[in-house]
């Protein structure tokens, strides 16, 4: 400890110098950012503003997206680097699916007599009017060219992506191989790339070459409300527009499934040149060859048929929705120029980017971006940013289509169109109404504020406001204002440089012997001198193993405090809870008939859950303002998915049962997902007993209701289904009190602990009308250290949770046991098996990892619920 205290200022400057030296072009490739060993964690939020629907007020919220990303880079040896990346996006809300003249009235109702405030995607089977110039007329025969978007909402969806990178460095070159997968319910992508770097000209010039390949499958379940675009022929299902397909349609368990494949090849070349002591320039060229299904399965194009031979000033037509058709080949070129200039005197850097992109879809796009990176003082940096983007329209973009022909419609008994035949040769080969292919410009501005803390930890927060307007297109001629919208995005980034602290300390030590710059991990004797909160109060193996913090099971929260004032810790905690199998009543599984008759509070159950998974990613931020108190902030990101199946006898097919049957189908034919920010925990931990081999601490905590409790299903058949199940909401919705008391002890290679914790809801109901049950939990564990750095643990857990109070106060369609509050809470017994490891020395010193599998022993549930299958916990922590 004394080493660092007395040299903290020196350490900081040495650290800066060391990093600066490492960052010298040539010593470290210019295209590689960050430290040698680092962890970056990002949270981002994106939200669009309301669309202009020409007077119709949409009851759907605009689209929002929550994103998290974690990246880690580790140097396996002097020349071998390994990187991992994980991303998750969750989005929900409404976006445009088509465009039509306001006079068509397509955005106002669904034709079934229900009032839907703007709107359901009812696009077909409307009678419309035109004048002789084929301009749309309203019902009174007055010309009205105003266009309006048709908005449709989507249930929450989640995308997960994982990828890796392996790199090998030579003195003047580097080769990286990378690959990964991205998974959504309707889009599955696999990709790989290889990049090479070569420094030459005394390392003033760097050449980067890359080649990447992506193979993506679309498998989209088409909107129930869009299925009228699809009709059944003798040869199977087909879209109304059958001319140019690079996708397949099929019926799958009652759903209409659209599937297609696309492949992308992308070679890139870039050249970085140091111009002088204060400036550098990067020139890049990229080419992308894309082939296959590149359309959007959820977008439609509105088509109006006008029968030829009509006389008079007013022509009548009929509208239908078509799936969009895009070419199955796209060649895109991008040229980019980046210039960075140091502003001497201000110690700032001006970055300027210009990109020009053009393709054989006729989309020409210009992007200008400038960042002014201004270091202030004390590690603070502020970066204002401005960006302008402009694109021309794709050659096949059209807001809607008109065709002079009379199709042959096929009607069902109730008068709805179920099929049609028409002359496709009278339509363009390709058409899309996706506004992203229209002509427009965007202007955005933002600010990034970053703070470099000591010991290699930094935090960065950014906000950007973005406006999309047809009138902003370079040179004019953009889409009309009906398609304009605004959005904003904010994000926070936590960066942990795992090597910087160790680098600096090791540098201090080795500089006492000689002045050579040494990398870490080469000198194990430096371990005893490291100022490390994990180690500074013990030097022996026994003390390592006895440290509660390295031996507590991964699933135990609040298991340790920080040692002394000024210590800090950053960690990530992942927990996955799984449920599945036969529904239980109490501790016994019951038949479907029993569930159907008794599981829904005296009403009939129509479905029952078959599985449910919950993933939680928590950020642990700990800081000790004094020796006896540790503060802890714990934001969470959660996602859930759930499947159900129908039970009991099928409903009679009557008009009265139509809506109910559609809602049952919606529940049982789709897996449901939700995700986003969960509740945020804030805790204060107090040392009550602090002996060398026994410790006791108490924790007082509050959980803030930052997780959503108002997540709803999307409409189906124009029916508002209302709230998702209670268990699929992201938080409790109430302020919760979370106290706990924890005891830990150790002797030789053994350590043990016990904890009591509780959750008391401080409010009777949340904004959606209910409050989750209180929780009490007790747990005890024992641990044995197999090696200096490795230990195993076993523990027992008993948990009791009360039932949900109150119920949803808005539209809600309960169908199964999960929808009734009496079927919540219970008493649970588990046994846990864990393994813990920490890195005692070397470049990655201070990192700890732990895993635990929690195996259910017995469930005694209230009412009717799915049994638990088990829970996985994994944690990473870095103390400094």
């Amino acid at each position: 400890m004394a080493v660092t205290k007395s040299t903290s200022a020196l350490s900081t400057s040495l650290q800066a110098l060391t990093l600066a030296a490492l960052s010298l072009p040539g010593l470290m490739p210019l295209n590689v950012h960050g430290a040698e060993d680092d962890v970056n964690l990002l949270y981002g939020y994106y939200e669009e503003g309301n669309r202009n629907l020409s007077g119709t007020k949409s009851r759907f919220k605009p689209i929002t997206a929550n994103s998290i990303a974690g990246t880690t880079n580790i140097k396996l040896s002097d020349r071998v680097k390994l990187g991992f990346n994980y991303d998750q996006d969750t989005w929900s809300g409404a976006t445009p699916i088509a465009t039509a003249p306001l006079a068509f009235g397509g955005n106002g109702g669904n034709g079934l007599g229900r009032v839907i405030g703007g709107a359901t995607p009812y696009l077909q089977n409307s009678n419309v009017l035109f004048n002789k110039q084929l301009l749309p007329l309203n019902n009174a025969g007055t010309q009205n060219k105003q266009l309006v978007q048709t908005i449709s909402s989507a249930s929450p969806e989640v995308r997960n992506q994982g990828n890796f990178k392996l790199g090998y460095e030579w003195d003047e070159s580097e080769l990286d191989v990378a690959g990964g997968i991205s998974e959504e319910n309707d889009y599955h992508s696999r990709f790989g790339n290889i990049t090479g770097r070569w420094d030459f000209n005394q390392k003033l010039t760097t050449l980067n070459l890359g080649l990447s390949y992506t193979n993506s499958d679309t498998s989209a379940i088409l909107d129930h409300d869009a299925t009228p675009y699809i009709w059944e022929t003798s040869s199977g299902f087909n879209a109304f527009n059958t001319s140019n397909h690079n996708f397949q349609l099929a019926k799958n368990s009652g759903n209409t499934l659209l599937s297609g494949n696309r492949q992308d090849w992308r070679p890139t070349l870039s050249l970085t040149q140091i111009l002088n002591e204060n400036a550098l320039i990067v020139g890049s060229v990229g080419y992308a060859n894309s082939s296959g299904y590149m359309a959007n399965p959820y977008k439609a194009v509105e088509l109006a048929y006008i029968a030829p031979g009509q006389t008079g000033d007013i022509l009548t037509g009929k509208t239908i929705g078509l799936l969009e058709e895009r070419p199955n080949l796209r060649n895109q070129w991008t040229e980019n120029l980046h210039y960075a200039q140091n502003i001497t005197g201000l110690d700032a850097a001006l970055h300027f980017d210009y990109s020009f992109s053009h393709d054989d879809w006729a989309v020409n796009a210009h992007t200008f971006q400038s960042d002014w990176v201004q270091p202030i003082s004390n590690g603070w940096t502020i970066t204002p940013k401005i960006r302008y983007y402009s694109q021309s329209a794709a050659s096949f973009y059209t807001p809607y289509l008109v065709t002079m022909q009379s199709p042959s419609f096929i009607y069902n008994a109730s008068g709805a169109i179920t099929g049609q035949t028409f002359n496709a040769s009278k339509l363009p080969s390709y058409y899309s109404s996706d506004q992203r292919l229209s002509a427009f410009g965007t202007l955005s501005g933002g600010l990034t504020l970053s703070k470099q803390f000591v010991k290699g930890v930094s935090f960065e927060a950014s906000a950007e406001y973005y406006t999309h307007q047809g009138s902003l297109k370079l040179g004019g001629g953009g889409e009309d204002a009906y398609a304009d919208y605004n959005s904003y995005m904010v994000n926070g980034v936590l960066k942990v440089d795992l090597s910087s602290l160790s680098t600096v300390i090791n540098r201090i030590k080795t500089s006492n012997d000689n002045l050579s710059l040494s990398f870490l991990g080469t000198d194990d004797t430096s371990h005893a001198e490291h100022d490390h909160s994990h180690h500074n109060d013990h030097d022996s193996q026994e003390n390592h193993s006895g440290h509660d913090h390295h031996t507590s099971p991964a699933g135990v929260m609040f298991s340790h405090m920080l040692n002394k004032s000024g210590d800090a810790m950053v960690g990530v905690r992942y927990m996955r809870d799984t449920q599945g199998g036969n529904t239980l009543q109490g501790s016994n599984s019951v038949s479907d008939q029993t569930i159907a008759n008794n599981g829904c509070g005296g009403k009939r159950c129509y479905d029952t859950a078959t599985m449910m998974n919950m993933n939680m990613i928590m950020l642990d931020l700990m800081y000790a303002p004094s020796d006896w108190m540790t503060l802890m902030l714990m934001p969470q990101f959660v996602d859930m998915n759930m499947s159900s199946r129908a039970i009991g006898s099928p409903l009679a097919s009557t008009p009265e049962n139509f809506d109910l049957q559609q809602i049952i189908n919606h529940h049982t034919l789709h897996e449901h997902t939700t995700g986003g920010i969960g509740d945020t925990g804030m805790y204060a931990m107090f040392k009550l007993l602090n002996q060398s081999n026994q410790k006791l601490h108490g924790t007082l905590g509050l959980s803030a209701p930052t997780g959503a409790v108002d997540i709803k299903f999307r409409d189906t058949h124009g029916i508002d289904i209302g709230y998702q199940h209670y268990g699929m909401q992201l938080g409790s919705g109430t302020w919760d009190f979370k106290p706990s008391i924890t005891y830990t002890g150790n002797k030789n290679k053994y350590s043990w602990g016990a904890q009591l914790n509780g959750t008391k809801r401080l409010e009777d109901s949340n904004a959606s009308g209910y409050a989750l049950g209180d929780i009490f939990q007790s747990t005890a564990w024992g641990s044995y250290s197999l090696l200096d750095w490795l230990s195993t643990s076993i523990r027992g857990v008993y948990t009791a949770q009360g039932t949900i109070k109150g119920q949803y106060n808005g539209t809600y369609n309960p169908l199964g046991p999960v929808d009734y509050t009496s079927n919540s809470g219970g008493r649970y017994w588990d046994v846990g098996f864990g393994i813990n490891a920490f890195v005692p020395s070397g470049r990655l010193q201070g990192n700890s990892f732990s895993f635990e599998w929690l195996q259910p022993v017995n469930d005694d549930v209230n009412g009717y619920q799915l049994p638990r299958s088990g829970a996985l916990s994994a944690t990473w922590g870095y103390g400094f």
Binding site: S23, P25, L30, N31, H33, L42, G44, I63, A69, D89, Q161, N163, G180, E184, D186, Y187, S189, F191, N193, K203, L204, T205, G210, S212, T214, T268, L271, Q273, I274, N276, E277, N278, L280, G283, S284, V285, G286, Y298, Q332, T334, E335, L337, H338, N342, A349, S355, F356, S357, H358, D359, V363, T367, V373, T383, A394, R436, T448, E460, S462, M489
Partner: protein
């Protein structure tokens, strides 16, 4: 238009390469270039996120290399 742009880029790259013949910035003169604010991408994590959003709302994919990214269907 396209040919003009490509020619412009080739010209720029040629200029870059030509610098390699005449510029001399010794390693000990590169201290300014090594500052974090002079990194070619001073906010890489932020930019990766923001580019992901731009790509889902604009018709071009820019220079971003391969990598899932989803279909941006919404």
């Amino acid at each position: 238009m396209r040919i003009t742009q490509q020619k412009l880029l080739i010209a720029l790259l040629t200029i870059c390469l030509s610098f390699s013949g005449c510029t001399t910035v010794a390693p000990w003169q590169r201290g300014t270039l090594a500052k974090p604010q002079m990194a070619p991408d001073p906010h890489p994590v932020r930019n990766t996120y923001q580019t992901h959003i731009y790509n889902s709302r604009e018709a071009t994919t820019g220079m971003s290399s391969a990598g899932g990214g989803g279909c941006g269907c919404n």
